[in-house]
Every structure is written in structure tokens, then in C-alpha cells.
């Protein structure tokens, strides 16, 4: 029953903390500190500025400002000398290309204005998806601080010609001396580059290619190789799945990536069928948050649970151990057997044996969901070879190393050992887009272009070939890595010609190059015969289980290392958009931390007190594993398995980063063996208080109910949504003339007439929203949303126009319910807290609701926020005087105030404060000045552009032509934008759907944002 359920955002809130209660009521948590300095007599008296001086300053500055205002600045307009044909100033161009930076791989569309890429969107034709990181990659292009600008030798500039000459000379010397040269790259997933590398290896037979992924998937790769004969990752057709069982595989987050679309396609309640997703995990991951059933388990229990599931499915008896999960495992086995070939098991445990068992279970199920033919090439790293390289370097076997876009000096568990060993190498060359600790340790640092400046190709999965094309002239003196390698191999072909020839002969099957380039991808039929898929050698699961049992050492405290949705492996750590992006689960930005369960925290004495300004503090813990120690702040995480802690990799990078971005703690030293699970962890509380920048208790919707509506699949199918007692989407009732009436029958305002022209609505499907946050970053890029920095986020001054609220809920919901059960206060806490240990999670994207009866509009004294006929609540920045009445009167808390000028301000040294970073700004949207309110505009610049396009062409606007940044970024189709006055538009039907509801509908604000009730498949019979 949806409406009586209590949703809460933090443990503090559940406890009924008075601080949280107060915060609920205050729109602006931070009072302006006038009392502080006016009340402090001593400081006032000691101030060197007298009252008269102060008045003089005021007078002078006012006069100076007025004088300056009289003379307008002279603006220069500099047209092209020769204008490129396809550029019209003011009209965006879109290019289809691909992203492949070694960690993120995506088919994308790039929006360019006047030759500058300003936004990345998924190439939906190519089935492309974007995450927050892919969206934000466009800003990394303009990272003038970190990018290499010219070739250097030991820090001094050198010409490309000279570098080529010296390095080829040395390479040839090494060849004659027979010393090893190592080409250390990340996963490139590029067939033409593989060919270039092969040419290099043929020219220099002493050379060796080692692939290194910072986040290792070697276990899954090796297991797949052992089972299917190819070193790749398995692909899953989740859209067809009936039952998905995942042992710690965060497949909606960072495990292999790109599954959210298929996953959501298999979970459409309208079809009457939804996959049943069980997640067993230690950390609360994005995937676990979306699961129908989430079971917490320590990492070691996960391992044995997996073996037990194998035993249960196959009725074999391979070596294992009993776990607290076994009851659940039996249930899962039953469900899986029922699903048969429509069931699938995945595991995120990076161990070859665990992965072998997982593949074996799928084989036993005869799973059609696991697709070994269309295998994924997006991870190819070999952790053991990298370790071998370190020992080879140490022993002096290696004569030369060419490090290509990798940073082992930061991301290897034994980074210091690597750096030491590097000193034994004669020829050290880095070819890299960005500067980093590894590049710094090399003799030669040769700049490579960003993927948005490059040519290239990709091969993500067996059938999916993609092309990379430049969308901007190179910003710096860069040269493509492929060109460099070709040159050093003595091949004078330019890589562009090489690529085109290669595609003509090896990929295109006679199809047109221009067409493939235009589309950005080429779908090739997979010509893999059954025979080659099957491995020649049989795999012994009994052996695998035996080995697994010996290496799994259950301990009191176990550590799960993970990567965050925002920062990933840390490649884009200097990207302010990603740093400010709040983690979908903890809602904390600018940090990593040790996630700990509620009982463990209580036992070890950790707490997260909420300050009266909405900021959260944390205690520090010293984590020791395998003789390595790090000191990290602790964040108490509901849903964390007891006896386990989680820590995100990818933080704590310092080399070359702006000071503001040097946040968090580097967890890579704990990443022993490239294994995300570490046993025998010791945790000790150390002194100090950490200040988190966490938005989880900020912007709460004033304690109001009916924010979220959730139904089970069974309810959805069988219960009338408007049923007075059991309805899962009941309309709100209010008391009118002492009678209970439907809220929408009475109104304070007059109705607007909206029949003529467009009327925009945004539909948000809570069932399809996985909380990935791609929309949040897309909104940043489209609307020039400023980055405010850690300290400002901490006190609730973040500027996100679109936030994704994360709500927890549990079975015993309210304290009232607990009271009914006759529990005392202490027992109530206990019950609530136990329930809180593994809560259900629901994500709710929240932005300006564009109320047709907007409370903000009525209170603005200067009419700066007004209503448009097309449904948008319009915010006129130049009219706003900053009274903030509107924000105070907004029940959704979506208005944001510019406390400072965030552009051209050294206090906020982010992308709007440097010439390169400003190139990413959208010229169609103004950069707001200090002292004005801002909020979601429903991308009015985009709807206006769409309308203008139709007008120019003298036609109606096509159905589904209207988009907002968030709706086009949304891969799963959770956000649908359109015109409800056009009955053919998808959104018109969605607005009338039986799942549709408005948040806080009893307030009768009549929002133009429609939410669709979240449906969960609770797998009830």
C-alpha cells in the first residue's frame, strides 16, 4: 500500500532527529551571518575600517561603478577568413562518433557549435548509451590544466621530428641489443589500432604488448576464455530475462556497462511481464538499489553462496561451505530452475574460479540470456602480465617502455614498486592525452589528441563496429598515437588513410564508408560458428570450487572495493562536473569514504552527525589490509552487509590536478591482485572529523507524504489503481465543506486555457529510472549549470537543476506503526533500525515541476517568474532581484539561488573560470549572474529551436521531435518529453496512463511533470 509508506532519506531522519525536522522546515539552511559580525563587538571595534572610511569606500565604489556603466565595451566580431561549408554560426552540427578512453565505451552523438563540441548524447540508432562519465567527457577535452600541450623531453619542449628521430634510434638500438620493449596500453577495443600495434610488433620483434585495465576484469576474461575459447566478456540479453540473479555484479553501474537499456526493456509493467531481479551484495550498489529483492551478504558468503547455488542447480556436491544465505539460495535455485533458459546468473567477483562457476550455472540452466557469440571486447586487461612487467623491469629485462594512456603509477596496487622499477628502463616514452604521475616519470611525454579530436574505430561487441571522427581541430600540438606508432614502424601512411583502407577491406563488407562515418557505427553480422564458441578443453568446476574455497578466507571484517558512478576508475578525476555529481546512493559528492553498516558503525563507534546547516560530518577510520593502511572517513550506509565495508577506487589522485579536485583517498594500494574483495581487514577509529559534502538531508520535501508511489506487479495487474482502500495510485482527497472530496475538484486559481499550440509535459517513469545520473550531467552541459565546489555543496548551495532523490523505505515504516505494535521507545528504535539495515531504494528525478498553478509565481514581487502558455514556468533572470520568496514557497525545493558569481571568479576555479573550460558553455543559454534564482527551464531553448526549425521548413512539429537534455540523455526511456496537445505524441498517452501521478497532488499545483508509479516485481505467486 503505497500512501501509508514512509520514505526517508537518511538514518537520522528515520530516527526522528530534531535537526532533520528543523531542516525540513527551512528552505535555506544557512542563515546569512549578519548576527555573527554585527554582534561581535570586539571584532567590530578592532576593525581598522571606521564608519566614515566605510562610507567613503561605499561612495567611491558606487560612483566608479556608475561611471563604468556609462561606457559600453567595444565588442569585436571576427568572422572566418574562409568559412567551412557546413558551419553556420549559431546553428549546431551533430557528429556521430564513439568514445573509448580505456574505461568508458559508448556510441555517441556530439553537438558542436562553431566548431566546438559542447555536448555528448547517446547515439540511439547504434543502441548507444551514455553514463554520467560519458556525458561529462566533453569537459575533459577542455582540461587545459591536465592535458599535454606539446612534446617534451625531460620537461623541455622538443619538436615532433626530433622526438621521432631520437626514439626510433633508441628503439633500433634496443632491437639490436635484443632487449625487451613493452607497449603498455589500456583496453582500446579498436581493430585498426590492434593492426597498427601488430605492425609495430613485427618491426620490433623484441616488443611486447601488455594491456592494463586499472579496474581489472581479468577473472571474467579468463573464465570466458576457458569456457568459450575467446578472451572477452560475456554479453547478456537481459531484455528477455525472466529471472536475473546477480552476485555482486553492478551491471547497471560499472560492471562491463551498457546493460541498463536491455534490463529496463525487460521490465515494462505494461507488457504484463517483468524480469525478477535478485541482487546479493555487500555494498549498496546502483544495481542492488534497483533490484526486486536485495540480499545483503559478506563477500565471503557471496563466494560460497555462488558455489552453493551451483550445487543446488546441478545437484552436484562441489566443495563449499554453509552460509547464512543458504535458505535464500535454495529459493533462488527454485526460481531459476523455473525460469530455465530465461534465467541468468552474473557475478562481479573478479576471480576466474567464481566466474567459471557462474558460467557453469548458466550452462546448467541452458541460459539463452547469456550470449557468448556477441561477446564484449571492452575489457582486455591482463593483471598478471602487468605484474610480470613490473618484475621484468625490476630485473632489468625491459629496455624500453611505451606507456599509452595509462597511469599505473597511480592505479596499480604496487604503484611505488612500479615507479621504482621504471628507473631501470632505458627508454621511457609516454603517449598520453593527459599528464599524470606515469607520464611525469617518463623521459618523453608525447601528447595525444582527445577522442573528440581523433580518428579511430571501435569494436565494442562482436557485431558492433564504431567509428571515431574528430569534432574539433586539435587544441594542442598533438599527434595521434596510431600515426606515431606507424611512423616508428616505418610506415608512412597517415592513420586516416590506413583506417579507411582497413575498414574497406576488413569491416565494411562492401558497404559505404561515408555512410558508416555518418552513422558512426556499422553493424556486422556475427559469423561465429557454434564449434568455435565452445572451448576445446573441459573445465572442471570441482577444481574451481576447491581452489576458490582455499583462497576465500572469511574474516570478521571484509572489504569490497568498488567504483563510483561519478568518477569510475579515476581517469576523469579533474572533471568538476563529475566531482560535484552526487553519488546516486549516498548523495555525497567530492569524496570517497568507507561505507559501513549501521550495527558495525554502532559497535565500532562511528557516527554521521548532521549539523544544523544540513551538513554531515564523519569520523575517520584507519583501514589496514595486507600491511597497507589508509585513513578514510566513514559513511554509515543502510543496506551495507554486516561485517563488510566498502571503499571506492578512483579517488585520491593528486598529480597535476587542481587543488579543489584532489579529494578523497586513493584506495588502489588496497586493490591487491586486482581483486575487489579483500579479507582480514582491520578497522580502527582515529581522531578527526571529516566534513562531507552530502545532499542527503538537504532539499527534503518538507515532510510531506505522497511523494513516491510504488506498487507490486501483482497489484498493478489486479488492483484498480483508484480503489479507495487498496488502490496504488489513489487521487488525493481534501476536506471541503466538511466533506472529503477529490483534491482536483477545488482550486485556488483560475484555470489557464491550454488548448491552442503546444503544451509540454515531461513524464518520468520511476520503474525505468535506474538512478544512473546521466541526465544530471546532461543538464549541466546544456544549461551552463555552474559547479560550486565542495564547501558550498556541503551547506546545501549546490546548483543542480535536476537532482535524483534517493528514498529508502522498509517494511515497518512508521513510528506510529511501531506504536501500534506496542513497542517501547527503545524497541521502536531497534525495530526501525533493523529494518533500516536493508531498505528498499527508490530513485526519483526531481526538477522544477512547471506547475500550472505555481506557488512560486504568486509570490514573486517583481514578476520574474511567470507562466508560459506552453506550460513552462519561466524564470527571467534579468528581472529577478533575489528575494528568494519563490524558493521559500516551492513545495518541491527545486529552485536554486546564485549566492555568488560562479563565472570568472577565482574562488570557484572550475570550468567557467578559464578560457578553455568556457568553450563548453552552451551559447544559447545565458550564464547567470550573482543574486538571481535559477531552475529547470524545461530546456525552453531546445523546444524553441525545434519549433523554429518546423516554422522555417513550413511544417508541423513531428511527433517525438521535442526533447529536453535530460530526456535525450536518458538511455532507458524513463524520461519522455513532448507535447500533450498532440495526441500522437507518446507523452500524451503517458500523462493519462493509469500509473501517472503528480507529486504532492493534494496541493493542486498541477505540475507539467508527470511521474509513473514504480512497479516492483515482488515475485508473488
Amino acid at each position: 500500500m503505497a500512501s501509508s509508506k514512509k520514505y526517508w532519506k537518511s538514518v537520522e531522519e528515520l530516527k526522528g532527529s530534531s535537526v532533520v525536522e528543523t531542516l525540513n522546515k527551512n528552505e535555506f539552511v544557512e542563515n546569512i551571518a549578519t548576527d555573527d559580525f554585527l554582534g561581535d563587538k570586539e571584532t567590530l571595534e578592532n576593525s581598522s575600517t571606521t564608519r566614515r572610511d566605510f562610507l567613503k569606500y561605499v561612495g567611491f565604489t558606487t560612483a566608479a561603478a556608475s561611471l563604468a556603466a556609462c561606457e559600453g565595451p567595444v565588442v569585436k566580431s571576427i568572422p572566418y577568413v574562409v568559412k567551412p561549408n557546413d558551419i553556420i554560426a549559431g546553428v549546431p552540427d551533430w557528429y556521430a562518433t564513439s568514445m573509448a578512453d580505456g574505461y568508458d565505451f559508448a556510441n555517441i552523438l556530439v553537438k558542436t557549435r562553431e566548431g566546438r563540441p559542447i555536448q555528448i548524447m547517446p547515439n540511439k540508432e547504434a543502441n548507444g548509451t551514455t553514463s554520467a562519465r560519458v556525458q561529462a567527457a566533453v569537459l575533459s577535452l577542455y582540461d587545459e590544466k591536465l592535458r599535454l600541450k606539446e612534446p617534451t623531453k625531460n620537461g623541455t619542449a622538443i619538436s615532433w621530428g626530433a622526438a621521432d628521430k631520437e626514439i626510433t634510434q633508441k628503439l633500433n638500438d634496443l632491437k639490436e641489443a635484443g632487449k625487451q620493449v613493452v607497449l603498455l596500453t589500456g583496453t582500446m577495443a579498436s581493430p585498426s589500432t590492434d593492426k597498427v600495434v601488430n605492425e609495430f610488433l613485427i618491426t620490433y620483434p623484441n616488443a611486447k604488448h601488455v594491456i592494463y585495465d586499472a579496474i581489472s576484469e581479468a577473472g571474467a576474461l579468463d573464465a570466458f576464455q576457458a569456457t568459450y575459447g575467446k578472451r572477452a566478456l560475456p554479453n547478456y540479453k537481459l531484455e528477455n530475462a525472466e529471472t536475473i540473479v546477480s552476485f555482486g555484479a553492478d551491471f547497471l553501474g560499472d560492471f562491463h556497462g551498457g546493460f541498463e537499456k536491455a534490463y529496463v526493456n525487460g521490465r515494462k509493467p505494461e507488457t504484463g511481464k517483468m524480469s525478477y531481479h535478485v541482487q546479493l551484495e555487500s555494498n549498496m550498489s546502483l544495481t542492488g538499489a534497483n533490484a526486486d529483492k536485495r540480499i545483503t551478504a559478506k563477500p565471503s558468503d557471496l563466494v560460497f553462496g555462488l558455489i552453493n547455488l551451483y550445487n543446488a542447480i546441478t545437484k552436484e556436491g562441489v566443495a563449499s561451505k554453509a552460509t547464512p544465505l543458504d535458505v535464500e539460495i535454495q529459493k533462488i535455485a527454485k526460481t531459476l530452475r523455473k525460469a530455465g533458459s530465461k534465467g541468468v546468473v552474473m557475478t562481479g567477483i573478479n576471480d576466474v574460479n567464481a566466474q567459471l562457476i557462474s558460467l557453469a550455472i548458466n550452462k546448467a540452466l541452458n541460459s539463452e540470456i547469456l550470449d557468448p557469440k556477441n561477446s564484449l571486447n571492452i575489457r582486455q586487461g591482463n593483471f598478471n602480465q602487468v605484474q610480470e612487467l613490473v618484475s621484468d623491469m625490476k630485473s632489468g629485462k625491459v629496455g624500453g617502455i611505451l606507456a599509452i594512456n595509462v597511469d599505473p603509477s597511480y592505479s596499480l596496487p604496487n604503484a611505488t614498486e612500479f615507479s621504482e622499477a621504471l628507473k631501470n628502463v632505458d627508454l621511457k616514452v609516454a603517449l598520453s592525452v593527459e599528464n599524470n604521475a606515469t607520464v611525469d616519470a617518463m623521459d618523453y611525454a608525447l601528447p595525444a589528441p582527445h577522442f573528440l579530436e581523433s580518428w579511430g574505430d571501435t569494436h565494442f561487441s562482436e557485431g558492433n563496429y564504431g567509428l571515431i571522427q574528430p569534432t574539433i581541430q586539435p587544441l594542442f600540438k598533438t599527434r595521434q598515437i596510431q600515426d606515431t606508432l606507424l611512423k616508428w614502424s616505418g610506415n608512412t601512411t597517415f592513420y586516416y588513410d590506413y583506417l579507411k583502407f582497413f575498414w574497406g577491406t576488413d569491416v565494411l563488407e562492401g558497404s559505404s564508408w561515408n555512410k558508416a562515418l555518418h552513422n558512426g557505427f556499422y553493424q556486422k553480422t556475427i559469423a561465429v560458428t557454434e564449434a568455435s564458441v565452445e572451448s576445446p578443453a573441459t573445465v572442471s568446476i570441482a577444481d574451481a570450487a576447491r581452489i576458490l574455497k582455499t583462497i576465500t578466507t572469511p574474516s570478521a571484517m571484509e572489504l569490497s572495493l568498488y567504483t563510483k558512478t561519478g568518477l569510475g576508475d579515476g581517469k576523469q578525476a579533474n572533471n568538476p562536473w563529475l566531482q560535484e555529481f552526487p553519488d546516486p546512493i549516498t548523495r555525497a559528492s567530492w569524496d570517497n569514504y568507507l561505507t559501513m553498516s549501521i550495527p558495525d558503525a554502532r559497535a565500532l563507534g562511528f557516527s554521521n552527525p548532521v549539523k544544523d546547516n544540513g551538513a554531515i560530518n564523519g569520523d575517520y577510520a584507519k583501514v589496514s589490509v595486507n600491511g597497507k593502511e589508509v585513513v578514510v572517513p566513514v559513511m554509515i550506509q543502510p543496506g551495507q552487509a554486516n561485517g563488510s565495508v566498502g571503499l571506492a577506487l578512483g579517488f585520491g589522485k593528486t598529480f597535476g590536478l587542481k587543488e579543489e579536485m584532489q579529494v578523497g583517498v586513493n584506495a588502489y594500494p588496497l586493490y591487491k591482485g586486482g581483486n575487489s574483495i579483500q579479507y582480514n581487514v582491520a578497522i580502527e577509529k582515529v581522531v578527526g572529523t571529516h566534513k562531507f559534502a552530502c545532499t542527503q538531508v538537504q532539499k527534503t520535501i518538507a515532510g510531506r507524504h505522497d511523494i513516491l508511489k510504488v506498487a507490486s506487479l501483482k497489484e498493478y495487474k489486479n488492483v484498480d489503481p483508484k480503489d479507495h482502500h487498496h488502490g496504488w495510485n489513489k487521487p488525493a482527497y481534501v476536506s471541503y465543506d466538511h466533506k472529503e472530496v477529490e483534491a482536483n475538484t477545488i482550486d485556488l486559481w483560475d484555470e489557464h486555457n491550454r488548448d491552442i499550440g503546444h503544451h509540454f509535459n515531461l513524464s518520468i517513469d520511476l520503474t525505468s529510472c535506474t538512478g544512473c545520473g546521466a541526465c544530471v550531467v546532461a543538464c549541466h552541459a546544456e544549461n551552463n549549470v555552474p559547479v560550486v565546489g565542495k564547501n558550498e555543496v556541503r551547506i546545501g548551495r549546490d546548483m543542480h537543476w535536476l537532482r535524483i532523490d534517493r528514498y529508502y523505505s522498509s517494511k515497518v515504516e512508521t513510528r506510529a506503526e511501531a506504536k501500534e505494535l506496542g513497542l517501547g521507545i527503545a524497541e521502536t528504535y531497534q525495530v526501525l533500525e533493523t529494518e533500516a539495515e536493508n531498505p528498499e531504494v527508490t530513485f526519483q528525478p526531481m526538477m522544477c515541476q512547471h506547475c500550472n498553478h505555481a506557488p512560486c509565481e504568486t509570490v514573486c514581487p517583481v514578476a520574474a517568474t511567470t507562466h508560459g502558455r506552453q506550460g513552462q514556468n519561466q524564470m527571467t533572470y534579468n528581472r529577478c532581484v533575489g528575494t528568494r520568496y519563490c524558493a521559500n514557497n516551492c513545495p518541491y525545493r527545486v529552485r536554486r539561488f546564485n549566492w555568488f558569481s560562479y563565472a570568472n571568479n577565482n574562488e570557484f576555479d572550475f570550468n567557467m573560470n578559464n578560457e578553455y573550460g568556457k568553450m563548453v558553455l552552451n551559447p544559447d543559454v545565458v550564464v547567470r549572474s550573482r543574486g538571481v534564482m535559477e531552475k529547470c527551464s524545461m530546456c525552453i531553448q531546445m523546444t524553441q529551436a525545434t519549433i523554429l526549425k518546423a516554422k522555417k521548413e513550413g511544417r508541423k512539429v513531428n511527433t517525438d521531435e521535442f526533447e529536453t537534455a535530460c530526456s535525450s540523455a536518458c538511455t532507458t526511456g524513463a524520461l519522455v518529453f513532448g507535447d500533450v496537445n498532440n495526441k500522437e505524441d507518446e507523452v500524451a498517452a503517458l500523462a493519462e496512463d493509469k500509473r501517472a501521478y503528480n507529486v504532492l497532488d493534494y496541493l493542486q499545483t498541477k505540475p507539467n511533470v508527470v511521474y509513473q508509479v514504480k512497479v516492483r516485481n515482488t515475485n508473488e505467486a
Binding site: 559600453g72 577568413v81 553556420i88 544559447d924 525552453i940
Partner: protein, 433 residues
């Protein structure tokens, strides 16, 4: 001082251009009484339409200069060459050699009759017809514009300050003389006495005093408001541009369509300043202006000599070597000074107005075709925009986008015409985002 200097500079410029004019008059030009004007006109017409894109009379372009070509080649040779030079080259060795002049082959003109060709050749022989210059005529056009000085309000303000200062000095002098012991002079006439009594009466009357104060305050407020209101409004803004480009010559006299150069106006929010390659479409062939061309620029008159230098600036920007007729690749973008500046928070789209609304450029930019030097014609204030949106009817017919809206409006209100404002063109969010 400044205007004198300006004047003398202008005179020298004019004299120079006049001598130059005379020089050219004797080189390839004839006076009207010696030539068959009708024939010359006919030839000129043909020459301009068929030959001028590759040939000039006095200069080489793609092809050689053609002034007096009949002195170099025989008439029959020329006819054969013009009609079909490719065929002629095969039979005439001389022609084959002449073809080596340029890598670009010349078109064939089989449509020209012998008479046509004779007319063209006649034109190449006699050249332009010039009227006999009348002494002193050139000097008449000299017009020196007043250098723009301080704004008006400042002058008023200074004048008022001076008056106040005078009054203060006068009263001081009076006091000084009174202190020195000089008694007030006796009141002499009745009129003066009456005035003085009136003044005393006024001084004693509080009502009049209050009224006067209010009046003074109101007048003061009026002027202060007017002054402050005009801050940031740049109507009439006419900055000095790097090249003396005359819209009057291009758009007015030569009738080049505005959107030939400002081509993005129909596609984009920007009207776009044309890139130099657009200038070169024509200026590749036009290295100098016609005799007697003059423009008013920055308070001076620019004659042929100056204007030719201005064209040279375009060549420099484009990296065009006018001698060898080739691009050098040494490009220098032109840094124009932007005249129409809207604040960042106002969104304006040219395509909406030009393509969809069918608004003439002149509606906002004024009589550009009469402007030598471009200036901001309209105030570009919000009130000015809004006013137009209130008054202008939208043509809902003939554009399928509006078809349904028109139908619905007609159905509902029975209206045929709606203003932009009625369609939502006054909403804040339409221009501010």
C-alpha cells in the same frame, strides 16, 4: 584646430584624386564628342556580361588586359579566337601559343555575331566615356562633418553650472561691496520697486515656495531619469571599423541582396558577418572602385585612391596576391567592431524574423542601403521589441506549422488575424533563458 587639420587633409586627398582622375582620363578613356556612344554602350554591355569576369581593360585578371587589344592582334584573329578558341588553337600556332597565357581555358562564344565582337572591340579601344571635368566641381562636394563631441546633456549640465557659478560670483561681489561699506543704491524706478515687492511677496508665500520646489524637483527628476534611461542604449552607435566598407555602394548602388553576404540570417540566430571568402567572390575581379566613387567615412570623404586601399585591405586579409592573382595562404582575419549588441540574457534569432516572419532587414537596421558608414538605427530596447510584437500581425497562412493553430483560433474566436503578442510573443521566457 582639429577641424582645420581635417579640412586640409581632405583637400589634399581631393586634389590627389583629381589629378589621378585626369591621368586616367587620358590613358584609356575618350571624351564623349570623339566616339560613337551607342556603339560604345553596346560593346560595354557585352563586355560586362561576358568578358568582365576574366578580363579588364587596363589590368590583367584571369586573362590579359584587353585595352587596345586590336593594336596587338588582327581583327579576324580575334574573331576566330573569341568564337571558338579551342578549335582555333588547332589550326593556328599563334593561337596555341596564346593559350599558354593561363592554365584556365577561355570559354567559347559561338553566339556572338561579328557585329557583336566588333562592338566589344570598339569598347576595348575607346574605353570609358568621361564627361569633361568642370573646373571647381570636385571641391563643392567637400563636406566636413562636425567631430562628435560631448553628449548633449553634458553641455546642458555645464551651462547650468556656469550660470550658477556666475550667480554665486555676482552675489559674492555684492556682499563684498556691501561689506566695504557701500550702501545699497537707492531704488530708482517704480518698476524695480514693484519687482522687488513682488519678490518679497513670493518669498513670504509658503504655497508658492512649495509649488516652486515641487516644480524644480519634477524637472530635475525628468532630466535625471532621461539621462539614466539612456545609459546602455546605443542608438546611433557608429564605431570606427577597420575597413571603410560602404553599405551604400554595395547594397544601394550595386543592389547586392543583404543576404548574399549575411547569408546565415535566414538559417541562424546570427545574421553573420560575411567571411572574407565571400568578399573575394566579387573582389577577386574588382580590385578598384569606379572613377569618381566617393563615400563619407568617419567625417571624411574617401575618394578612389583611399577606397582602392581599402580593397587592398580585404586582399591582405584574404591573403590574395593581387599581382600574381594567387592566394598566398597568409590570412589575417578582419576584426570588425560589432555594432548591434544585445545583452547576454536576451535571446534574439534572425531566422525567426527573416525567414519565418518575413521581416525586411531595414525594419530594424534602417536604411542601410543609404549608409556609407553603418550605425545602430534602432534603440534595441525591450520596449521597442515589445511594441513591434504588439502591433505586428502574424501571417498564419501558407505555413503548415501554423495551420492547426489558425484553424483552432478561427474556430474559437472567429479571428483571422492575431498579433505576435496574442500568440505568446510577449512571454518572458521566449527571449530570456
Amino acid at each position: 584646430m582639429k577641424s582645420v587639420a581635417l579640412h586640409s587633409r581632405l583637400t589634399s586627398v581631393l586634389l590627389k584624386s583629381f589629378t589621378l582622375l585626369l591621368f586616367f582620363a587620358f590613358s584609356v578613356s575618350s571624351y564623349s564628342q570623339d566616339v560613337d556612344e551607342a556603339r560604345q554602350k553596346e560593346g560595354k554591355k557585352l563586355f560586362k556580361s561576358l568578358c568582365a569576369s576574366c578580363h579588364k581593360l587596363d589590368k590583367k585578371l584571369v586573362g590579359p588586359a584587353l585595352g587596345g587589344v586590336e593594336e596587338r592582334r588582327e581583327n579576324s584573329w580575334l574573331k576566330s579566337w573569341i568564337k571558338n578558341n579551342a578549335a582555333f588553337q588547332k589550326v593556328n600556332a599563334d593561337a596555341a601559343e596564346a593559350a599558354l597565357y593561363s592554365a584556365t581555358a577561355m570559354n567559347a562564344f559561338p553566339q556572338l555575331s561579328d557585329k557583336n565582337i566588333d562592338d566589344v572591340l570598339y569598347y576595348t579601344t575607346v574605353g570609358e566615356i568621361l564627361k569633361k571635368p568642370v573646373a571647381g566641381e570636385a571641391g563643392v562636394t567637400t563636406q566636413v562633418l562636425a567631430p562628435s563631441g560631448a553628449p548633449e546633456w553634458l553641455i546642458y549640465f555645464l551651462a547650468a553650472a556656469i550660470v550658477v557659478a556666475f550667480l554665486m560670483i555676482a552675489s559674492l561681489l555684492k556682499q563684498v561691496s556691501e561689506l566695504k561699506g557701500n550702501k545699497k543704491p537707492e531704488i530708482q524706478s517704480n518698476l524695480r520697486r514693484d519687482l522687488q515687492e513682488l519678490w518679497i511677496g513670493v518669498k513670504k508665500n509658503t504655497f508658492i515656495k512649495v509649488l516652486a520646489t515641487i516644480f524644480v524637483l519634477l524637472v530635475g527628476a525628468y532630466f535625471v531619469f532621461g539621462t539614466l534611461y539612456s545609459v546602455g542604449i546605443d542608438q546611433g552607435y557608429q564605431p570606427i571599423q577597420p575597413i571603410a566598407f560602404s553599405h551604400k555602394i554595395h547594397s544601394g548602388e550595386n543592389k547586392i541582396d543583404c543576404q548574399y553576404c549575411h547569408s546565415s540570417a535566414k538559417h541562424s540566430k546570427h545574421s553573420g558577418i560575411p567571411s572574407v571568402n565571400v568578399c573575394m567572390n566579387c573582389h577577386k575581379a574588382i580590385a578598384e572602385v569606379a572613377e569618381g566613387t566617393e563615400i563619407q567615412w568617419n567625417g571624411m570623404t574617401y575618394g578612389k585612391e583611399q577606397l582602392d586601399q581599402e580593397i587592398a585591405k580585404v586582399y591582405e586579409a584574404a591573403g590574395w596576391d593581387a599581382e600574381n592573382l594567387a592566394y598566398t595562404g597568409d590570412e589575417k582575419p578582419i576584426k570588425w567592431v560589432r555594432i548591434h549588441n544585445l545583452p547576454d540574457f536576451a535571446y534574439y534569432n534572425h531566422a525567426q524574423h527573416v525567414t519565418v516572419g518575413g521581416v525586411k532587414c531595414q525594419k530594424c537596421h534602417g536604411p542601410v542601403e543609404e549608409m556609407d558608414e553603418m550605425y545602430q538605427y534602432s534603440p534595441l530596447t525591450m520596449g521597442w521589441c515589445i511594441n513591434c510584437h504588439r502591433e505586428t500581425n502574424v501571417d498564419l497562412k501558407g505555413n503548415d506549422y501554423y495551420a492547426k493553430i489558425h484553424e483552432q483560433l478561427a474556430d474559437k474566436y472567429g479571428v483571422e488575424k492575431v498579433t505576435i503578442a496574442q500568440l505568446g510573443g510577449l512571454e518572458c521566457g521566449k527571449c530570456h533563458y
